[in-house]
Amino acid sequence: MKQIINIQEQYGAELHTRQMMERLAASLDSNNEYLLDMSGVEQISRSAADELYNLTHSNMHVDLINLEPFVEKMLSAVTKGRFLPRRHLAGDMPIIHCATIGSVQRQLMAK
């Protein structure tokens, strides 16, 4: 039987860091099966979501249930990111060499 873990009760409504999810992973037993109940978790960082992705794609038996919209979107973004080629859309920025403090000031004033 799968053990249900209420993530919001244990870690709060906002999962800010990768370490939180690493701590969760370390607390699980690979011989058991788990359902992570994500209800009430309204915010998750990309790093925490990435770690959650690792957990659900590891040899642990872990599934997620009751995802809030933001968390679902973030997990989807992280999952897609695993398979998409890295894009460098911003392009190079011009590099301006400033030899003096005065030239820095001029650049800052020019915006």
């Binding site: 709060g12 906002e14 800010h16 860091t17 990768r18 370490q19 939180m20 701590r23 915010q43 960082s45 990309r46 790093s47 925490a48 990435d50 933001f70 979107k73 973030m74 989807s76 973004a77 897609k80 990111g81 695993r82 398979f83 998409l84 080629p85 890295r86 894009r87 460098h88 859309l89 911003a90 392009g91 190079d92 920025m93 011009p94 590099i95 301006i96 060499h97 400033c98 030899a99 003096t100 403090i101 030239s103 820095v104 650049q107 800052l108 915006k111």
Partner: protein, 190 residues
């Protein structure tokens, strides 16, 4: 404020920043809660993962004169240049230049272990996109002796004179205290 980089301390730091804004300007926090949380998380996470230091610094204020929130997140770590060197990534493009390191970072070149995919990376490039394109704000990053500046009509990196050399990385962001029509945080998550 300064904060340690364990998860409890970083969570507390994020909450304190938001509480501070909530006291001075609750309506602004209500509008910007999600993008601000997202931004804090990503910037602080960058320190945790790349700066090789044990402490971060954060500052937030509501600037009434320009009706904007001003945020500073900093560390005294190994700089962005140092993080590429530590990871032995993109050394061919990097040379010995903090400015080139900032250029690589703003263009999404990762120091992570699978640089050909999005992998775990998010980084400065997406932060800039959300702040400047999405929220019509301004973004600056000082790392070593280079300064990146990006706003709506200007983007450049200044290679600074040798007397300016910040031993770490400082991100400075100004975000107008109103959300532009059509802003959707989900557009900046993929």
């Amino acid at each position: 404020m300064s904060f340690a980089l364990d998860d409890e301390s970083t969570a507390n730091a994020i909450n304190q920043l938001k509480e501070q804004l909530s006291k001075s300007c609750p309506e602004v926090l209500k509008l910007l809660n999600m993008p601000l949380t997202y931004l804090f998380e990503e910037l602080i996470c960058n320190i945790q993962q790349h700066a090789q230091t044990d402490k971060g610094y954060a500052y937030l204020m509501y600037n009434k004169e320009v009706n904007a929130i001003e945020i500073l997140i900093a560390d005294y770590g190994i700089t962005i240049y140092g993080s590429y060197v530590a990871a032995q990534k993109h050394l061919d493009k990097l040379g010995d230049s903090d400015a080139e390191a900032l250029n690589l970072a703003q263009n999404g070149f990762s120091v992570k272990n699978l640089p050909e995919t999005e992998n775990r990376g998010y980084g400065i490039s997406s932060n800039i996109k959300m702040v400047v394109d999405g929220l019509h704000g301004e973004f600056a990053a000082l790392s070593g002796n280079a300064l990146l500046l990006q706003m709506a009509n200007s983007r450049k990196i200044l290679a600074l004179p040798p007397e300016i050399d910040f031993k770490g990385t400082m991100i400075m962001v100004r975000i107008p205290a109103q959300v532009p029509n059509g802003f959707n945080i989900y557009d900046y998550m993929s």
